[in-house]
């Protein structure tokens, strides 16, 4: 991987303006290809790729980029993106926080921009927030556990404390369970057209695609029409998300994680698949950071490998809907082809049945037409 730094075009300049970009993220470039045009106070300059590889841009058109800061990376292969993602964010300088605070916040998935400090954010500020947040997580069952346990009349072979992230998940789910009223809607979908896309994709783009990504792609196209599914209820008001950030489940080494693909509605199927693959790779390498798991507005859970007929996924905290994918085998309905079962779970407090039924009907139509869209 090579990082390309902004050259000093004019002696007195501190910044250049990124005028035009001729490529896009993770697109292959050859050495000498025109990547972008930058403009100093005196002249414009063409920037060519110093090596062949895959581009990862670090700025967008119109940005004022500081001299000597990184303009773009050239990756030997797209998988190297993982190592960039792991680097501290370039714009972390813009947040007024100490190095220790930035590190701690990153490790706990805390967004520093939400702080309203008069001066610099310090480690102790983050610690306070973490303590406060831990205090809010309530995994307790609501009954007197100690009394109940004393009457249980049996011992335990092991008492295993949950780790930090498990505690967080357990706390969140308890909270959801206590408030959300869930209702479920299922539908059968023929799997063959989707399988064709998956195979075609492998051949054309050399990218591994699963049903999950296709479903994410289709949902993201529908959520503008069904904004209630991209919202949540809090304190008597529904909050609609600006972005369509869809989380999907990865079950690896007995650990369930739900990384979030951001702005899915603005991404192509290739980009969604690429993002998903990066997360899967990070999960295998145990490199998923809390920030990867934050900010989801909808969740897709895929259990088609389990040979399950149906399952009822739980809605995530601060969300109003979830999709579960199961099946993918021939059902005893007379049709020999494989069938998928798509199950939609909704927060019935804000979404009524008709709305959900319309959504899942549209989703089916979208899934059937996606083949035409792409191939």
């Amino acid at each position: 991987m090579i990082a390309f730094n902004v050259p000093q075009v004019g002696v007195n300049d501190e910044f250049v303006t990124l005028m035009k970009i001729f490529t896009e993220d993770l697109k292959e470039v050859n050495k000498g290809d025109l990547v972008c045009i930058i403009e100093s106070s005196k002249a414009t300059m063409d920037v060519e790729a110093p090596e062949s590889g895959y581009i990862k841009l670090n700025a967008k058109t119109g940005d004022q980029v500081k001299i000597n800061s990184i303009l773009f990376y050239i990756l030997k292969n797209p998988e190297e993106l993982v190592s960039i993602v792991d680097q501290p964010l370039e714009n972390s300088e813009q947040v007024n926080a100490t190095r220790k605070a930035i590190e701690l916040a990153k490790n706990h998935g805390i967004d520093l921009t939400t702080f309203s400090n008069k001066t610099i954010i310090r480690e102790k500020d983050i610690q306070k927030l973490i303590e406060k947040r831990n205090g809010e997580i309530n995994i307790k069952s609501g009954i007197d556990d100690q009394r109940w346990l004393s009457k249980l009349g049996t011992g335990f072979s092991e008492i295993r404390e949950l780790n930090k992230s498990q505690k967080l998940i357990a706390g969140n789910l308890s909270q959801v369970h206590q408030s959300v009223v869930t209702s479920y809607f299922s539908m059968i979908i023929e799997s063959t057209p989707l399988q064709k896309i998956i195979d075609q994709f492998k051949e054309n783009n050399k990218i591994i695609l699963t049903h999950t990504e296709i479903v994410i792609y289709c949902i993201s196209r529908l959520l503008t029409k069904y904004p209630l599914l991209n919202s949540f209820l809090l304190d008597e008001s529904v909050r609609f998300y600006e972005e369509t950030n869809i989380g999907f489940t990865i079950d690896i080494n007995d650990r369930l994680i739900v990384p979030v693909i951001r702005n899915c509605n603005q991404k192509t199927l290739v980009e969604i698949a690429r993002d998903a693959n990066i997360f899967k790779m990070k999960a295998i390498m145990n490199k998923v950071i809390p920030a990867d798991l934050m900010g989801g507005s909808f969740t897709v859970s895929n259990l088609i490998d389990g040979n399950l007929l149906i399952f009822l996924p739980v809605i995530n905290i601060y969300q109003s809907a979830v999709i579960g994918i199961s099946g993918n085998f021939s059902l005893p309905t007379g049709d020999a082809s494989n069938q998928l079962i798509i199950t939609l779970g909704i927060d019935h407090r804000i979404i009524n049945g008709k709305y959900a039924a319309n959504f899942i009907r549209d989703l089916k139509a979208q899934l059937m037409s996606v083949f035409v869209d792409i191939v």
Binding site: N96, T98, R99, K100, K118, T119, I120, R122, E123
Partner: protein
């Protein structure tokens, strides 16, 4: 936040003083328009007040001598010595005459002369135009030395010097001229909480990046080194969470701050940073003052940072090595912690 610069504050105050008072006369080399002084502090004054602005021959001793005479006759002369380095040429007039009149004539005269001069380096002006020589004058009896930082209002301080009476040496660090100054009352400036103490005419600014709670370092500094110390202090907080409190006087030859005992109790270490070299300098005097007047526990470290004890080089790179930089201060503090 106020956006006027150090230079604008001085220039506009001089305009204001000349408009409102008839007893003020300004003397100096090349201070008339169109040149308006080497650093443009007196720009525009001679056009409006030709009778009050005098460009003098190149003879610093004579300039102070004339100013002394004017002061004895009831005027309030403001003198500009083009570079602080040339103060050595004025030493006889200042030390043997100006500062002794009041005492010699039994308080019947008040020689109120303000001698303004730009000091300091970082402009590549070389060994004879970059020094910080006020330490030579710091021990002169009856001479007060004011050196505003970018947290003071230099224009207001000039007026306060005139109102106060008596001779003043007014040190303007030339690196500060283009800096914005912070004169609007504000609780916080960037990452620092601000407090003001001392005499009203010559305030002491206190900046703490730990809300005036216990800090790792109590740092004494004044004038042109202040923005550098501020940067270093901010860098230390950002990178290492090392906290500091800055003590920035404007009148640098004597100050009495009753809060200092309290400050000394809640700091772990003491550091004095000055732009001149440390031997026999301002920092040494601060240390004596602290030790003689205040109880300092033995577990506190006291250190000084200043320029190297040698002439200031013309070469920018060498000058950067000789003068104390933010990086050097950061490194020194890291080594001390």
């Amino acid at each position: 936040m106020n956006s006027i610069t150090y230079l604008q504050s001085l220039n506009s105050k001089l305009h204001q003083l000349l408009n409102s008072r008839d007893d003020i006369i300004i003397l100096g080399e090349d201070i008339q328009d169109p040149y308006g002084g080497a650093f443009k502090v007196t720009k525009g004054l001679s056009q409006k007040h030709p009778q009050k602005i005098f460009s003098t021959p190149i003879s610093e001793g004579a300039i102070i001598g004339v100013a002394n005479g004017l002061a004895l006759r009831g005027f309030h002369p403001i003198v500009e010595i083009m570079f602080g380095d040339f103060l050595t040429l004025t030493a006889d007039q200042i030390i043997n005459h100006l500062c002794k009149y009041k005492w010699m004539y039994n308080n019947r005269v008040d020689p109120s002369v303000v001698i303004r001069t730009p000091m300091g380096g970082r402009r590549g002006y070389g060994p004879t135009h970059s020094q910080t020589l006020e330490k030579i004058f710091l021990g002169v009896p009856f001479l007060d030395i004011v050196a505003p930082s970018n947290f003071h209002d230099p224009g207001q301080l000039i007026e306060n010097c005139i109102d106060n009476g008596g001779p003043f040496l007014f040190i303007e660090n030339k690196s500060l001229y283009p800096n914005p100054i912070y004169i609007e009352p504000s609780d916080y400036i960037r990452n620092f909480k601000v407090e003001i103490s001392g005499e009203k005419k010559f305030p002491i600014i206190h900046l703490s990046n730990n809300d005036f709670e216990e800090v790792d370092f109590l740092i004494f500094c004044y004038g042109g080194i202040v923005p550098i110390v501020e940067n270093a202090s901010d860098g230390l907080l950002r990178d290492e969470e090392i906290t500091s409190e800055l003590f920035i006087p404007s009148l640098i030859n004597h100050f009495n701050d009753w809060r200092i005992s309290e400050k000394l109790l809640r700091c772990k270490n003491i550091l004095i940073v000055e732009e001149s070299s440390t031997p026999f300098g301002w920092g040494a005097e601060i240390v004596s003052w602290l030790i003689e007047n205040h109880k300092i526990s033995r577990n506190k470290t006291i250190n000084r940072i200043g320029s190297l004890h040698c002439p200031i080089p013309s070469s920018k790179n060498l000058e950067n090595i000789v003068l104390p930089s933010a990086d050097f201060i950061i490194q020194t503090i890291k080594d001390l912690v």
